[in-house]
């Protein structure tokens, strides 16, 4: 419960803060709370991978780009204020519609006893038996993304 409140507050901080560096730090807090939820749902491997990939790699990349661009002094232009309200209203409308649609759904309760399914032993069995082809395809995706990033970022 506390984790969810922290997650929602820091997610709002991502959207509402003026300074981009503050947004990045709020997003890191959100990712840690989501990792806490993963641990509570017995997905230990995913929690560790989530912290390593998001908080360790992706957010460092974001912070690096932000520092490189030196955006702290620059303020966003505040014209088109109605566009901001239109975005907030449409996002809120989506929230209301989804919550109203799912409010009466009856779902089973999650039990608190631990399951073995999120351990790396079981996940590795599934990954390398059932999903070995997507695994290899994702390695090709990574290679092409790396080459693409280098080609795009090359100074010419």
């Amino acid at each position: 419960m506390v984790l969810s409140v922290i997650a929602l507050i820091s997610a709002l901080g991502v959207v509402l803060s003026k300074n981009p560096v503050t947004s990045v730090l709020c997003l890191i807090i959100t990712f840690f709370t989501i990792a806490g939820h993963y641990i509570m749902m017995n997905a230990q491997f995913l929690a560790v991978v989530h912290i390593i990939v998001y908080a360790g790699a992706i957010m460092v990349l974001f912070l690096y780009v932000l520092m490189l661009m030196n955006l702290n002094a620059e303020l966003e232009p505040q014209k088109r204020n109605w566009l901001k309200y239109a975005g907030a209203i449409s996002g809120g409308a989506l929230l209301v519609v989804l919550v109203a649609a799912l409010r009466d759904a009856s779902m089973p309760a999650l039990s608190t006893q631990p399951t073995e399914i999120g351990l790396i032993k079981n996940l590795g069995q599934i990954l390398f038996k059932q999903y070995v082809l997507p695994f290899e395809v994702s390695s090709i995706l990574f290679l092409s993304a790396m080459v693409g990033a280098v080609v795009i970022g090359k100074k010419d």
Binding site: L27, M41, V53, L71, G91, L98, L110
Partner: protein
């Protein structure tokens, strides 16, 4: 703790991400909101995985592997996207997405 609790949490996080994409003009913040939406979906998928594991299904780990693949794709997407943003910044000295409408000329 019912599954609906996690469903509503994921919906709230996803809608905050949608609002951020629609409201902000900074391209980097928009990227971060896309990450937030992906994470909301990941959280929902892990909670459904736990639900099916409680129900005794042996293949409930597939959802967690799906989350793993989403993380892989998100990492690749961020690498390419930030390279594009850096390139745009180098050419226009701004990351305001309103600048990008000059691409159509």
């Amino acid at each position: 703790m019912p599954v609906q609790y996690y469903i509503f949490l994921s919906i709230a996080l996803f809608c905050i991400g949608v609002m951020g994409v629609l409201m902000r003009r900074n391209a980097i913040i928009i990227f971060m909101c896309i990450e937030l939406m992906l994470n909301a979906v990941n959280l929902l998928m892990v909670s459904f995985s736990k639900m099916w594991a409680d129900a005794g299904r042996v293949d409930a780990g597939s959802a967690q592997l799906f989350v793993f693949f989403i993380m892989v794709v998100a990492a690749a997407e961020v690498a390419v996207g930030l390279a594009i943003i850096t390139m745009v910044y180098r050419n226009t000295h701004s990351v305001d997405i309103n600048i990008l409408n000059r691409l159509k000329n």
